[in-house]
Symmetry: C2
Subunit: 580 residues, 2 copies
């Protein structure tokens, strides 16, 4: 089955299953609070019996997080079939790919934030939301413990717990400092909107500091030395934004110090944007060189103080310190404490990231799902099942597999083990039966178990870990909502591939990621893009593609209008330099 047909099938079932039973937001809370909450809802006139009958049948779904994963899940979930509760420390969804644009005022913070309650309202308000942070998942008792995180004036402790039938963990990840001393205290990050707003203020602060009287030129230069650690898309885009800001706006408003600005981009690998095609890395490095951005590749940061950053060049082992005005740390992600604690409970203590199966279910935890940056899919190896596959395919128990017998199970294999398709593409094989050819490339009529094992021996090496991107999280959320929408139907009509190690079929198709491409804006109205089918595009036209894709991907018409008007405003009036 191809990806397209999977989506077609899933989409049909989705439309077929829309029922409109009513949902009350009661029982959202643990027993103590239920009474109080019910109190405040006396306007909903229903007999208690009616409420109980409708509600008690519904399974309670608790969603942790309102990022890409959580919001995609909520947008497509059939909320009439579940009692849905969302917990997140932020009452808005942020369009994170535009965070670097916020740091220099190209786009306003509010333009890329959509209030969660607006999203909920569009679902007819059948979802309960609490602005709180989940501090513990108790998998044994199917409970989460939460804490509201307000600055002051909260009545009571702000702590509460919530039981669940299904839990969707979409809490995202946190910044990874790799235990580098001083990073936490002295660096800026670019994980969420508040980071971006803080960074914007600090950038303006650096310029205001640099024009204070009684400073030497060297001191002014220090204030205006911006260091970006991490040559990934976020770091590169921030450096590009900063350079644009300098070229287009700073020159006019801080004319006396415009020549003292320096941007340094530190990357531990040999190239920046190394997750992209080589051509893009080279293009970016060339453009940055032309722009005067100092790209230091093969350079590791040892420590960061409030005044200096210490680095080590990998090539010659040289260690040196440079004074800085501001350091942005954008090197990678690590697991959140609440997830680490959860992993310890369920026997995943030795892993670095929470593992799920291909259906996004947390391993060893049937009713907990995890999507987005907080989890990774453990793809089952084909070699673990190879004998079962052979046995299932060898219908006549002849001990050998004919091409015809193999073809009967090929569709199920391709769905269950997507690495097979990657392997075929990698080896430039046209058809999956080409796998059965002998090592010299001649057709074989049949293979025995050893030949079969040999034919698939290299396949598992092509298993890919999905990148920690918005695209992956978003597709996972959408996929999971469809599974939830088919929960009842799929019990009797399983949709998934054949089980080789047992009888019957899997209940759902496993999650399959469809890469739609990736952008890297490089400043000066230029961008690079890697598009599906190994297409690479660079330059001004790509920037316009970037504008149109990012405008269309906004979660609401409101943010779409705001983002486009911000872009327009920047073209007309430039960026705002107020320190607000």
């Amino acid at each position: 089955m191809t990806i397209v047909s999977f989506f077609k099938r899933a989409s049909q079932s989705l439309h077929g299953s829309s029922s409109h039973s009513k949902l009350l937001l009661l029982f959202a809370v643990s027993s103590g609070g239920a009474v109080a909450y019910a109190d405040s809802k006396q306007e909903l006139v229903r007999s208690p019996d009616e409420v109980n009958q409708t509600e008690l049948k519904k399974k309670k779904v608790v969603v942790l997080g309102t990022g890409w994963g959580g919001i995609s899940f909520l947008k497509d979930l059939d909320v009439s079939a579940y009692d849905v509760h969302v917990i997140s420390p932020r009452n808005y969804f942020a369009f994170t790919p535009l965070l670097p644009s916020v740091t220099c005022g190209t786009v306003e913070a509010r333009s890329i934030a959509e209030p969660v309650r607006n999203i909920i309202r569009k679902r007819n308000g059948k979802i309960s939301f609490c602005e709180a942070e989940c501090v513990k998942i108790d998998a044994t008792n199917n409970k989460v413990f939460c804490k509201a995180n307000f600055e002051n004036n909260v009545i009571g402790s702000g702590e509460f717990s919530l039981e669940y039938d299904y839990l969707v963990v979409a809490v995202g990840a946190q910044v990874n400092t790799f235990n580098t001393p001083g990073v936490k205290e002295n660096c800026h990050f670019l994980k969420d909107l508040e980071d971006a707003q803080k960074l914007r203020k600090s950038v303006i602060d650096c310029f205001e500091k640099s024009v204070l009287p009684n400073l030497t030129e060297e001191e002014r230069r220090t204030h205006l030395h911006f260091v970006v650690v991490g040559g990934g898309p976020t770091g590169v885009e921030f450096a590009a934004e900063l350079h644009d800001f300098l070229q287009e706006d700073i020159v006019g408003i801080y004319p006396t110090v415009k020549d003292l600005v320096k941007i340094t981009l530190v990357q531990s690998g040999d190239h920046i944007l190394n997750m992209f095609d080589n051509r893009i890395s080279a293009f970016a490095e060339m453009k940055f060189q032309r722009d005067g951005i100092d790209v230091k590749t093969g350079c590791r940061v040892l420590s960061v103080s409030d005044k200096e950053i210490a680095m080590k060049m990998k090539s010659n082992g040289e260690v040196y310190s440079v004074p800085h005005g501001l350091v942005v740390w954008s090197t990678g992600i690590s697991t959140r404490p609440v997830v680490i604690d959860f992993m310890e409970q369920i026997g995943q203590a030795n892993r670095r990231v929470l593992a799920t199966d291909e259906w996004l279910r947390v391993k060893e935890c049937e009713n907990v799902y995890a999507i987005g940056d907080c989890a990774t899919i453990y793809q089952r190896k084909i070699r673990e099942d190879i004998e079962a596959i052979f046995k299932a395919a060898d219908k006549d128990n002849s001990g050998t597999l004919t091409v015809e017998e193999f073809q009967d199970v090929v569709d199920d294999i391709l769905v269950r083990y997507p690495q097979v398709e990657h392997y075929l593409r990698h080896k430039h094989l046209r058809h999956v039966t080409d796998l059965l050819k002998d090592p010299e490339g001649h057709d074989r009529k049949e293979v025995d178990i050893e030949g079969f094992k040999q034919a698939l021996a290299q396949v598992d090496s092509l298993s890919k870990t999905l990148p920690a991107t918005a695209q992956v999280a978003s597709q996972q959320g959408t996929y999971l909502s469809k599974c939830f929408n088919h929960m009842d139907k799929s019990k009797n009509n399983p949709e998934g591939p054949r089980r080789f190690s047992a009888s019957g079929r899997h209940r759902f198709l496993p999650f399959q990621y469809k890469h739609l491409g990736q952008f890297a804006p490089l400043g000066g109205e230029q961008a690079a893009a890697e598009l599906p089918g190994d297409w690479v595009s660079m330059g001004h036209s790509t920037q316009w593609l970037w504008y149109s894709v990012y405008a269309s991907k906004q979660v609401s018409w409101r943010t779409r209008v705001l983002v486009v008007s911000d872009w327009t405003r920047r073209f007309i009036f430039g960026r705002d330099s107020s320190r607000i």
Copy 2:
């Protein structure tokens, strides 16, 4: 001379005197820093002699503050004639009348902020700006001491001093807590943009807190009890905005608690908006009553804790406490510490507000001017000069004043003592010579000194203190810039009225305030306005007048476009409830 002719004359002189000599921003700092500053400007290729000759002639004007007063002064000042330095802790000008609109997201904070450096750039960059706070004015040595106020990472102490030839104090005022216990710690204010942003977050917080589980209805009500202290235009407008927010947006996004919200407006006087016409007060009180806003007049706040606010009813002396979710304190202003310290230096220690003469010069301090909320004009009483006036008018030294003799000095009197005009209007007298009529209202041919004193005895009681509004500060700034622009010309051609107590004329016309009206938005697309000529206007059409006046009064096209697009956005999409 009428107000119109004064402005016409001033405007003509302004256009006549525009010279275009070049200005360097050097010498902006005390000796130590001058070298460093010069270092960073090597791109300006001029011989040192040339620089010295041009610069040393120019008087150095230091402006403290970038609010209404400071910015109006800068906008019209002939910057080619002075070496201008601006010091302000904020690098932007905020359109303060729209602050209440920011608190609920009707208008975005950045839409009403114009970067000072944008304003400077429009003046061809001939103004130096430092983001710092003036901490001490040393009037004896013509010096101000400043401190840059950045959170971290400032090289050196951030302190510097600046000498001046002329100083313009436009630092504004601070909130007046009347020493009420707990106000500073537990109340929100509405003095600047940061206050408004903080308040916006807190309003959303209150709603998020109120829907947390495990709360009683009473506790939810507490979180949603908003108390506004002060029935002036700011307090009233905030209450109205909050009510609109509730009606238009909250109902949809927090449906479960919408009926628990309560707004209380506490006013110590007998009526809210008591600086407006009675009809407006009554209209506002009626509208608020209809809207369910609890207006408590004749009520004094005794203390505020994080949970409760204690009040005393003036009528019966009853004291009681009510729990609150949030208190906004908007009762009045007091003098900033730096101004109090300055007043002590110049012998004004016993005054509450810094006093200037009618030319906005600080009393006893020839080269220091003060405008806006930080100062008040001490209007000279006519009775102090009455004998000098009589003597000057009595040309023939007859000991009596004829109507003709009086008419000769009338113009000068009207300009020098504006209270005379207020008195005429108050008494419904058509012409100033009507003052000379005898107590029964009959014309007199001439009066002696006693008769003259009697005729003008009541005039001084009509001296008015100007309100602490944006309008006053703005007009003062513009007036002062015109005086500065005429500084040389007026030395030989004084523009002001005749000096009665000495010979000759005053160098400039004294400042005269022209009241252009005042608005009070009341929510629900209704507003009240007091327009010149004692016109009063209320209702929906007034709100549209408000929209057009406030759009037109924006300091730049940029903010104008932003504010109008914010209004449009609110009409289409409603207000944003994200807690950013």
